[in-house]
């Protein structure tokens, strides 16, 4: 018994299941990483569109966070606004509206994203479509006058048709140069303009292993190939893939919205197929559909088949020779 007294402080022993060590990664950290990765694009859009862009982003974030807190309070759940997921949804939503959108529309859209799309299905991890994109579809149907047509032009107070509408032939105007498209000196929604800033953020996320490269690669690759083959007016293989990749919300969608964990497949193979499917539907809408842009609807549609993709692309189990049906 004497030996035991020589060993102090065993009164607070934790007995729990293995493993006894955990990686440092947390949900909060992942969400804030994505928000950090969106910062270059946010700065560029404030530079091009002025303080108006900043106001819209702040309204989106504030509304999403507030809605999350209120709903969780009303449902007597733990308040989880610090995990950054609501803030991320609000920011992504603001990235999906043009700079001249009314602030109240962004506020209502963000509240819709959180209250209807996310919390009614059980909150974080339980929503079956991307909240920001579902809210964008909601806003597009509710206030089409603010979501379509002519968008503000950077560093100017006039509005003009978006490059994709010109490319489609539904609006007239001159196509911007590749360089303007790349750095973001074109009209469009807040987050779609600067391919460069978005690529920096996307590369950061892939480098930090926050997102899987398969989804954006499959998505952008499919759009490039299909628009090259079918996008031209002079027959097959005369399309302008670079223009289709740089214009519109493709890069934003491929890196930041199609990769949303909750609404994309859980298996690596599934993510690649998910990306290709998104690209396919995007091209379908852009070239033959009614809208000039199809990224958000393509992601929403693919969100719906995620459970199927998961089941279809189960990894091979060690020691099991026959593939599972």
């Amino acid at each position: 018994m004497e030996e035991k007294k020589a060993v102090p402080g065993f009164d607070k022993l934790v007995v729990a299941s293995s493993p006894h060590i955990r990686a440092v990664e947390t949900v909060d950290r992942l969400m804030w990483q994505v928000i950090i990765a969106l910062m270059p694009a946010a700065v560029v859009s404030v530079y091009f569109f002025g303080l108006r862009a900043l106001v819209l982003m702040l309204v989106g974030i504030a509304s999403a966070v507030l809605t999350e807190a209120l709903v969780e309070k009303a449902l007597k759940k733990e308040i989880t606004i610090a995990d950054g997921s609501a803030a991320l949804t609000g920011l992504l939503l603001a990235f999906n509206v043009p700079a001249n959108a009314p602030w109240w529309m962004v506020a209502v859209g963000a509240a819709f994203a959180i209250a209807v799309v996310k919390q009614t299905f059980g909150g974080l991890g339980a929503n079956f479509v991307n909240p920001a994109l579902a809210a964008r579809a909601f806003m597009l149907a509710a206030w089409p006058q603010h979501m379509t047509g002519k968008f503000p032009v950077p560093l100017d107070s006039i509005t003009a048709a978006t490059p994709l509408a010109i490319l489609k032939g539904t609006a007239t105007g001159t196509l911007p140069s590749y360089l303007d498209l790349f750095i973001g000196n074109v009209g469009g929604v807040l987050g779609e303009t600067s391919a460069l800033a978005l690529l920096v953020g996307g590369a950061y996320l892939i480098w930090q292993k926050v997102i899987d490269w398969r989804t954006p690669a499959g998505f952008i690759g499919t759009v490039a190939v299909l628009t090259w083959i079918f996008g031209g007016k002079g027959g097959l293989f005369t399309g302008d893939p670079l223009h289709h990749v740089l214009a519109g919300v493709l890069i934003l969608g491929a890196f930041f919205m199609a990769t949303d964990y909750v609404t994309s497949p859980i298996t690596p193979k599934g993510r690649l197929i998910f990306g290709i499917g998104c690209g396919f539907i995007t091209v379908l809408i852009r070239l033959w559909g009614g809208y000039p842009e199809g990224v958000s609807y393509s992601i929403l549609l693919m969100n719906l088949v995620v459970p199927f993709l998961d089941r279809w692309t189960l990894p091979r189990v060690y020691g099991v020779t026959r593939a599972r049906a």
């Binding site: 934790v14 007995v15 493993p19 006894h20 060590i21 947390t26 189990v317 060690y318």
Partner: protein
């Protein structure tokens, strides 16, 4: 050369630097040992009574069952009781308690050489020496080396991966006693009739690799295989896949892939038994962790209390958790008053901060567990099936193939308690299969 490995896995911080360089020291002779009668297979019947004098190495428990290993006294002294004690496995079992006389008198034993021993006598020696898997599973070794009818071994793998963070006992044995490891491997090859022997070592232990390469020089049927440092490289199935490129069939045993995997500690114990005739009564234990003042690798008599080892090594600061084994698969102990048994590879202490259980959040389907699973399961789906007790789906998604390595829970950003859920599901599915 590209390093051999397996799919999946994780990279926890090795945390081995505090003990990797410290040579194996003998722990002080314990005054009192608690030797559980069930250490591998069926529980033994005691061969001694309260009050009997025993010598070190004397057999004190044996069972008539085939799947059982005998136990031996680890010190000389007097049996003061046969009582039910708590084991580091979390179970309670009868144990022989011996009060030491301090003389450390051994029973007479005679060593021999491998050449002198026939395959039959070697197998008998393995059983008589009480050898079990010393990596933690404690399966009786003489059963493991006897293939079921119609099956045979063609390869023997010495598991020197030691992929568990913190633990360094196998690493030190390989560095300090490479000759004995090679002798043990030869004995495994002889007893199984296998043609090739491999020693798989993670490439973060270059000293061990070079020591064994030197010792194995000239042995044509042996190969030292450096492996990529990745957890769980030391899991039997993953090791076989990495070294032989074969897979153990689902629900099968390593012998179905023609392979026998042996722990470094067991191999060393076999070599000792051959050379000295002494049974397995001591093993190397790594005592480490932030609250340990002098972390080290100790040669410990079986039955020594963990509290004795801790007071020998010294403590600083508060202790939040005592783990028997490594941090990934070890068992948290409710008290330090448990004996070291044949499968205790380490005693790891964590501070209260390190031991804090992070709050569990909902799964965000990030897929990290899917990437990490070395078996190719979808741990988060299984977690849901098991919590909701949907056993049919759990079985369809192969919960029974889970090796409980903890890689999924380690990487989970939501800190979900995947391992207990899957362990429960695995037990339930296997029990249902037996009932059918």
């Amino acid at each position: 050369m590209e390093l051999r490995t397996f799919l999946g896995g994780v990279h926890p911080a090795p945390s081995k630097e505090r003990t990797a360089g410290s040579p194996i020291q003998a722990a002080p002779l314990p005054k009192r040992v608690v030797i559980p009668l069930a250490q591998g297979g069926a529980p033994c019947d005691p061969l001694v009574n309260k009050g009997d004098a025993v010598l070190a190495g004397q057999k004190i428990g044996e069972s008539k069952a085939f799947v059982s290993a005998p136990v031996h006294a680890s010190i000389s002294g007097k049996v003061v009781g046969i009582e039910t004690c708590l084991l580091p496995t979390g179970r309670e079992a009868p144990a022989v308690i011996i009060e030491g006389d301090g003389a450390d008198t051994w029973v007479d034993s005679a060593g021999s050489t491998l050449e002198e021993l026939s395959v039959e006598s070697l197998r008998a020696l393995i059983r008589e020496a009480g050898l079990v898997g010393m990596g933690g599973a404690m399966f009786p070794t003489h059963v493991k080396v006897s293939p079921p009818p119609g099956k045979s071994f063609d390869s023997v793998i010495i598991n020197g991966a030691e992929c568990e963070p913190y633990l360094t006992c196998d690493q030190r044995l390989m560095v300090e006693e490479p000759g004995k490891i090679i002798l043990g491997l030869k004995a495994w090859l002889k007893v199984t009739g296998a043609k090739r022997g491999y020693i798989g070592i993670e490439n973060n232990k270059p000293e061990a690799i070079s020591a064994l390469k030197k010792a194995a020089a000239g042995e044509k049927d042996m190969e030292v295989v450096p492996l990529l440092t990745k957890y769980p490289q030391g899991s039997e199935k993953q090791l076989i896949k990495a070294i032989l490129g074969r897979e153990v069939p689902s629900g099968g045993l390593p012998v179905d892939a023609g392979a026998l995997v042996q722990n470094v500690g067991t191999t060393y114990a076999l070599a000792t038994a051959i050379e000295t005739g002494r049974p397995l009564v001591e093993r190397v234990v790594t005592v480490t962790g932030t609250p340990v003042k002098n972390p080290q690798n100790l040669r410990v008599r079986i039955g020594t209390l963990v509290s004795d080892l801790l007071s020998y090594c010294g403590l600083e600061g508060e202790v939040g958790k005592i783990i028997s084994g490594g941090p990934m698969m070890g068992i948290a102990l409710p008290t330090a008053d448990v004996p070291v048994i044949k499968g205790t590879s380490g005693i790891l202490l964590l501070t209260p901060e390190e031991a804090a259980i992070p709050p569990e959040r909902p799964c965000i389907r990030c897929g990290r567990c899917v990437d990490a699973c070395p078996i190719g399961l979808i741990p988060t789906f299984l977690d849901q099936f098991c919590r909701k007790e949907i056993w049919d789906l759990a079985e369809e998604y192969h919960v029974q193939d889970c090796i409980e390595c903890g890689s999924c829970a380690y990487v989970c950003p939501s800190k979900r308690h995947l391992v207990p859920a899957l362990r429960l599901g695995k037990a339930e599915v296997l029990a249902r299969r037996r009932r059918k």
